[in-house]
């Protein structure tokens, strides 16, 4: 049976061009980049070229890019090391962050005794700016704000320029989890009032197991993972050279094709929305119609229905991969903390469809028809 992959927000399909770069590196750049012999130096040069490319793509200087094993590590490093090394006493965050941020914040509270405030969100998942401002103004000791750029489950986008300016005005450090936007939107850190942002290769058709943390050159933190002198003493461990090269290639391609991919994917999303709206009564969408929203994510709210319980599995039988909640918790059959925070009807079922340029309109129509068949069974021979 054909498979339709509408789960790109969990992990995208790697681009063939990226695999090529990686396999070529596996076979040709096999030395340790820290070695001073010829082979080692060639590996070092390739890594530094990739670093320069990524820095250029996001408007950073090369000294501000640190490679990690992925989004989770980047976020952990930013939060835990900022708390430990910048004397942070309070963390302000939201209740709809990715689990890695939620739990890194909890660990920081446990290990360093910082206090936590969680800004509330509206029915679309956007954070309450007034509340954030009030909280920021009430803090007299060093504060770290960690608020995501775009939410991975519902796709709402927070205005990180505005949040960053509030942080600056109140002398707070600002980390933003940009894992869902790097490679999907142009990001220019030069124009963003932020201190730390994170990226993960596998969210933009790059490889798994590689990510980066951008650290504003004005902030100095120490490593999360100690050991060798790699990453200018900021992240020990032999560099994942193929991952680094693959991620750089993926980001170059993503930014190069930004306009065309965005238009293409947005059309897929808009089509799925209108097709579903026409076919299934009582359906709604977890998104703010008046705001820019991740073009890669459509979070659909299905009405209470006997078929809704096992909807993800049911779709799967029909060859469709989508998620309810985020991948990280879907094994644990727990409800989504994000959907819960939106405060809607708990009897409705939220499903995240997430797209890439590798999907087609035909797939969208097939999915809409399949869902219609599940929800609105036709009476035979009526």
């Amino acid at each position: 049976m054909r498979r339709i992959f509408f789960d790109s927000a969990a992990s995208t399909q790697i681009a063939p061009e990226v695999v090529k770069v990686m396999t070529s590196a596996m076979l040709n750049l096999h030395a340790n980049p820290s070695s001073i012999h010829n082979e080692g130096r060639r590996c070092r040069a390739a890594i530094e070229k990739a670093r320069k490319s990524i820095a250029t793509e996001i408007g950073a200087s090369i000294g501000e890019i640190f490679f990690t094993s992925g989004g989770t590590e980047s976020n952990n490093m930013a939060i835990k090391c900022a708390v430990r090394d910048l004397g942070v006493k309070h963390i302000i965050t939201s209740c709809v962050e990715h689990h890695c941020v939620l739990n890194a914040v909890k660990a920081a509270a446990r290990d360093y005794g910082v206090s936590i405030d969680r800004v509330s969100v509206n029915q679309y998942g956007e954070i309450n700016m007034e509340e954030l401002e009030t909280l920021l103004k009430s803090k007299t000791e060093p504060t770290l704000v960690t608020i995501m750029h775009a939410n991975n489950e519902v796709g709402c986008i927070n205005d990180i320029v505005k949040i960053g300016n509030l942080c600056r005005a109140n002398n707070a450090y600002f980390h933003s989890d940009t894992v869902q936007t790097v490679g999907h939107y142009p990001i220019n850190v030069d124009e963003l009032p932020v201190d730390f942002i994170s990226g993960a290769g596998h969210k933009f058709h790059g490889p798994n197991g590689i990510g980066f943390l951008w650290i504003n050159s004005e902030r100095t933190i120490n490593p999360l993972i100690d050991g060798g002198a790699q990453e200018r003493n900021m992240r020990a461990g032999t560099e994942n050279i193929y991952g680094i090269l693959g991620m750089a290639k993926a980001l170059e391609m993503a930014n190069e094709n930004y306009e065309t991919h965005k238009a293409y994917i947005l059309n897929l999303k808009d089509t799925l929305r209108s097709e579903l709206q026409n076919r299934i009564p009582g359906i709604s969408f977890n998104e703010n119609p008046d705001k820019e929203h991740l073009y890669t994510v459509l979070n659909v709210s299905f009405p209470p229905h006997p078929k809704s319980d096992l909807l993800i599995l049911n779709m799967d039988i029909h060859g469709i991969a989508a998620s309810g909640g985020s991948a990280c918790s879907s094994g644990a059959a727990k409800g989504s903390h994000v959907i819960a925070a939106l405060g809607g009807d708990p009897c409705r079922t939220a499903v995240r469809f997430s797209f890439s340029h590798m999907n087609t309109l035909e797939e969208v129509v097939y999915v809409a028809k399949t869902l219609e068949a599940i929800y609105v069974p036709r009476t035979v021979n009526a």
């Binding site: 695999v19 010829n38 082979e39 094993s69 991948a327």
Partner: protein, 407 residues
């Protein structure tokens, strides 16, 4: 390998990825996208299934259960997780850790961080061969000791510690035993349970697998060992290490483990012969060649030699474009500090500075070894011919008695 003219004798820094490993990984790039934690659709299942096969292959290589394998991004992260994770988890039992001066930076720097966090760390000395003294180890254990961390084999000298004896001491005193086995796994038999190791770190790229993936073995029964996660998130890897799993790399490491299990013994037999040849001929061709390490207890593919009165880095320059070896370990070889490992063995600065580590591997050929012998012989002779120190030495001047003045 891409460039057959280059002779790669630096397999302790990193091994090339076996082509069979690359081949095993490819389908997981192309055909199976998916997040191994997305358990509700087959893309996720296929990824999960592949991870579980790899877990089995790795568990099989080291004789443990699948559930005892925690995937990380490499040995450095695994070392950090084991040390800091045990320190945090067993705080109530004590705060004292014992390790050795010749450990890798990943262990030493984690210990330094632990000291900053309120821990106490004892760094044991080693003898001239790089082995620790078992009595000193036992004497260092006290009521507050929670962990002993000793590497299985040293990355610079290849010296193998007496793991069973150390494990027995740890068991006798009821302390956990952790080992950085990065240099040993896949090359010699490393079964943690047979020697009483409770936590063991290793990495893909030192066993002909990919970079960007490593493992921490965590004993699950008798005793049940737990570590506090250092990277928090979605609760992957039984809550000990979060983050989307690097499926292709994990598959690659699994394949590398399966190959190692099948071929390790014959590889070791073949490569140790080549290593012995290299060592013997260099010692025959050249004067004043010293072996660093333990000739009776060492890895089959490694030899570390000091060529007296020849500066190692300079020597490397004489054949750098053709032969890859290292002086000191890769992580510190960009600096000109003498190797702290060799200093711990009791070498003077001069012998430490004149050391070269040769680490052979699965793809090393006899022809390459012959070429290396010729190049080294020529390089060392050339350097010595130019060296006034060598001249003085040959004239019988006691160099240690010479007083060098600053100018």
């Amino acid at each position: 390998m891409a460039n057959p003219r280059k002779i790669y004798l630096d397999n302790n820094s990193t091994t090339p990825c076996d082509p069979r490993v690359v081949e095993a990984m490819l389908p997981y790039f192309y055909e199976v996208p998916g997040n191994a934690a997305s358990r509700n659709h087959p893309f996720g299942w296929a990824a999960e299934e592949a991870v579980s096969v790899a877990r089995e292959q790795i568990a099989d290589l080291i004789g443990v259960e699948e559930k005892e394998i925690i995937f990380t991004s490499g040995a450095t992260e695994a070392d950090n997780l084991a040390l800091k994770g045990v320190f945090e988890m067993y705080k109530r039992k004590g705060n004292h850790i014992i390790t050795v001066k010749t450990e890798h930076k990943a262990v030493l720097d984690s210990c330094a961080k632990i000291e900053k966090m309120g821990g106490e760390v004892t760094y044991l000395d080693v003898d001239r061969k790089g082995r620790l003294n078992l009595e000193e180890l036992e004497a260092a254990i006290k009521d507050t000791t929670i962990l002993v961390s000793v590497m299985w084999a040293n990355n610079e000298t290849g010296t193998i510690q007496d793991m069973k004896a150390i494990g027995d001491i740890c068991e006798k005193h009821g302390v956990l035993f952790m080992s950085d086995a990065t240099q040993a796994v896949g090359k010699i038999k490393t079964h943690p349970k047979e020697v009483g190791v409770h936590l063991m770190a290793f990495t893909g790229h030192k066993m002909y697998g990919p970079k960007g993936v490593g493992v921490l073995f965590v004993n699950r029964k008798k005793p049940r060992v737990k570590v506090t996660a250092q990277i928090d998130g979605g609760g992957h890897e039984r809550g000990m290490r979060s983050g989307t799993l690097n499926v292709p790399a994990i598959v690659g490491m699994g394949k590398a483990a399966a190959i190692a299990k099948a071929e390790m013994e014959q590889d070791a037999a073949r490569v140790s012969k080549l290593r012995d040849k290299l060592e013997k001929e260099l010692s025959a061709n050249l004067e004043e060649v010293y072996l660093n390490g333990d000739i009776d207890n060492r890895m089959p593919h490694v030899t570390n030699l000091s060529f007296k009165h020849v500066e190692g880095e300079g020597l490397m320059m004489t054949f750098n474009e053709n032969i890859a070896v290292s002086s000191g370990s890769a992580c510190t070889s960009a600096s000109l500090e003498p190797s702290y490992v060799l200093i711990a063995l009791g070498l003077g600065d001069d012998l430490a500075h004149s050391s070269i580590r040769f680490s052979l591997g699965r793809f090393t050929t006899e022809e390459e070894v012959d070429l290396a012998i010729a190049a080294l012989t020529k390089g060392v002779s050339h350097m010595r011919d130019l060296s006034p120190i060598w001249e003085m030495y040959k004239e019988g001047i006691d160099l240690d008695a010479v007083e060098w003045s600053e100018h």
